[in-house]
């Protein structure tokens, strides 16, 4: 069992003696916080529907070192995303950044070991922003990642750099011999005027269980533009708590799309903090769950400054015995006048045994704001189904067409062309399989 005592033992083993750019102190504090808060149970308000505690009752190995030697180039080639020939690629293996497998092909992007960055020129930045997500994720899971910040990366996108090809981040868990708990961590700085597309993808090798507890923190500066895509299509023996924390500290534009197609237990935390005037943020999500899978999207849009716009649309299809959670928080702080914030969550339930809990949560402290939210849970449009069938289209094809149509407005938000084609193919394969 992965008890606090187990982690304490591992923590003590892993602690190096030197300062490592101030990271040691942060890790120490985080471990303390983890010990105090522990693993969130179902009484924790943010974890009511996602029973992560059960995962800690299993045996997971927390690897001490990068096991990059065990991942070959052939392993990697099999899971590379289309368009990788031109893309920059960062590879994490069991939570550790792999220098040998990663390739940065664009000038304007620097990738450093986090400790190296903290020691060389980025000390202040790291001190200021590493752990920023803990202000929103007040639970032991987030602290556990920070307590074990090793093999993490710092990604810098130069001022004014318009990166033409996307940055792909692969998280590979090698569970071929034992159950693995991996804790990837990254910190990214998108400097003034920079433009970048980031794609994160998750793959577990082997049939043992994996548990990925990931945190990525991104700081977006003035006039910068970030597109961020998360693709979750891993095996049923994989589990994830995946936190993406974005803070927009200058007038900037962000666009995130979270595509969750497969997995065991998956919890996504997406925070977008609008910490400057005139920011714009778009948050999209598409999930298609089946079998016993559980997917939880927790999103936070925190409007701190005036004149910001956020638009959020999450759509889901659930089948089998799967369960879904959507929890969308919007904060509008007192100074954030003239905020426009929109949120919508739509769900289609295909079976009688699947379910979804959807909860919009608005906390508004400013008076001159425009906020809307809404959620729907329903069946596939029967009238639409009959309409298509009455034109000679078989019931299966008709369902397929209707669900593809339903997904299409989110898929349109996937801007890199090769990536969209790839996801469309994954979805059509899923529909083919699920509807037969």
């Amino acid at each position: 069992m992965n008890t606090i005592a187990y982690f304490k033992e591992r923590f003590d083993q892993l602690q190096p003696n030197d300062d490592h750019g101030g990271l040691d102190k942060l890790r120490e504090q985080a471990f303390q916080a983890f010990s105090n808060m522990g693993i969130p149970g179902s009484k924790h308000e943010e974890w009511k529907y996602t029973r992560v505690a059960g995962l800690f009752n299993k045996e997971f190995q927390l690897p001490a070192d990068p096991l990059t030697g065990s991942i070959s180039t052939e392993d990697l080639n099999k899971l590379r995303l289309p368009g990788h020939e031109l893309a920059s690629e960062i590879v994490f293996v069991n939570g550790f950044y792999s220098f040998s497998l990663s390739r940065i092909r664009s000038t304007g992007i620097q990738v450093l070991a986090l400790e190296e960055a903290a020691n060389n020129g980025y000390r202040e930045f790291v001190a200021q922003w590493l752990g920023d997500s803990s202000h929103y994720q007040k639970d032991g899971i987030n602290a556990l990642n920070t307590a074990f910040v090793h093999g993490a990366v710092f990604i810098n996108v130069d001022k004014g750099a318009r990166i033409e090809h996307p940055l792909y981040i692969y998280h590979i868990t090698d569970a071929r011999s034992v159950n693995i708990l991996s804790q990837p961590r990254s910190l990214m700085s998108v400097n003034e005027g920079a433009q970048l597309q980031v794609v994160e993808n998750y793959t577990t090798l082997g049939s043992n269980e994996s548990f990925t507890n990931q945190v990525m923190e991104i700081i977006v500066e003035n006039e910068a533009r970030l597109e961020y895509y998360k693709i979750q299509n891993d095996g049923t023996n994989t589990n994830q708590v995946s936190t993406t924390h974005i803070r927009q500290i200058g007038k900037s534009f962000t666009h995130t799309v979270t595509i969750s197609l497969n997995g065991g237990l998956v919890r996504n935390n997406l925070n977008v903090v609008l910490d400057a005037k005139n920011c714009e943020a778009h948050l999209y999500g598409l999930y298609f769950q089946t079998g016993q899978s559980h997917l939880d999207n927790h999103t936070i849009v925190d409007n701190m400054k005036p004149n910001c716009l956020s638009n959020e649309l999450y759509k889901g299809i659930l089948n089998g015995h799967s369960t879904g959670v959507f929890n969308g928080k919007i904060f509008v702080r007192q100074p954030a006048q003239k905020t426009n914030a929109y949120q919508s969550n739509k769900n289609i339930l295909l079976s009688d045994s699947c379910s979804v809990n959807t909860k919009p949560q608005l906390e508004i402290f400013a008076d001159d704001v425009k906020c809307t939210h809404g959620c729907t849970v329903g069946r596939l449009n029967e009238e639409g189904l009959f309409y298509l069938q009455s034109r000679g289209i078989s019931e299966k094809t008709a369902r397929n067409l209707l669900l593809s149509a339903y997904s299409s407005d989110i898929l349109e938000q996937v801007k890199p062309f090769a990536l969209r084609g790839y996801i469309e193919k994954l979805i059509s394969q899923r529909l083919e399989k699920d509807l037969s």
Binding site: E383, F386, L388, S390, R391, G392, S394, T397, A405, S408
Partner: protein, 253 residues
């Protein structure tokens, strides 16, 4: 082509059709008229195979097959077409892709190879001219944001593409102005030939000025209470449905 015998049907335990008898032959145009609630749309729905309607008694034979035994898509593939009173809007489903899928699924059912892109495009252009529909409309999501007239024209366009043996037009004139009715009717008339038939379901006589029926049937309380030629439609237009109701209440006494 279509033989309905003693058809009784209802929805959610409520009986609506009380013994319909109707015979339609190739090359004919039949009109079913009747006041609101008489069962006109129920008849159209039952024939097309809408699943929430329950057939309680009777039989329907279509081109020698037991129609009631077939799924909606099989009925379509066998040559039955229903032009919806309220065509469904499906955001995200491209109209052309939808029609192409329909055409090829029907071909598959008939054991024919799928139509290649060139042949499909050629047929589409041909039929577009026939029903006066623009490419821009077909490039959009199916019926999404279409005007009433555009939706009905799209129905007739689908009919043209699928070339059914029997087309049922369910209140196709509802919500249309005279110009739109003329365009839609022209489309239907151009598609008529000696091998196919049309069943027009309508409340008003005005559509029948454009699609001229060979036979008119009046539906009341779920039964055909009067049949005649197109003059019957004019009589109804002049006298209203009340005389039908009165005649039938007298009969009941």
């Amino acid at each position: 082509m279509l033989t309905i015998q003693n058809l009784h049907a209802g929805i959610e335990g409520k009986k609506i059709l009380n013994g319909i008898n109707l015979d339609i032959k190739a090359g004919e145009v039949h009109a079913i008229m009747g006041p609101n609630g008489s069962g006109k749309s129920t008849l159209a729905s039952v024939l097309a195979g809408r699943s929430d309607y329950e057939v309680l008694e009777g039989s329907v034979e279509f081109l020698g097959r037991d129609l009631l035994d077939l799924s909606p898509e099989q009925r379509a593939a066998e040559g039955l077409f229903l032009a919806f009173q309220y065509p469904v809007e499906i955001p995200g489903l491209n109209t052309v892709n939808f029609i192409k899928t329909a055409v090829n699924e029907v071909r598959k059912y008939r054991g024919e190879a799928p139509m290649d892109a060139v042949a499909f495009l050629k047929r589409m252009k041909e039929k577009m001219a026939l029903v006066n529909i623009e490419q821009s409309l077909l490039s959009r999501s199916l019926n999404e944001g279409f005007s009433g007239g555009e939706k009905k024209r799209n129905e007739i366009f689908q009919m043209a593409m699928l070339e059914p043996r029997l087309a049922i037009l369910d209140e196709t004139d509802s919500g249309l102005d005279i110009d739109a009715i003329r365009i839609v009717s022209n489309g239907v008339n151009k598609l008529r030939n000696k091998d196919n038939a049309v069943l027009v379901v309508t409340h008003y006589q005005r559509l029948l000025d454009y699609i001229v029926p060979d036979f008119v049937h009046v539906l009341y309380n779920g039964r055909i209470v009067k049949s005649g030629t197109k003059e019957l439609a004019h009589e109804l237009e002049e006298r209203g449905y009340d005389f039908i109701k009165n005649e039938n209440s007298v009969e009941a006494v």
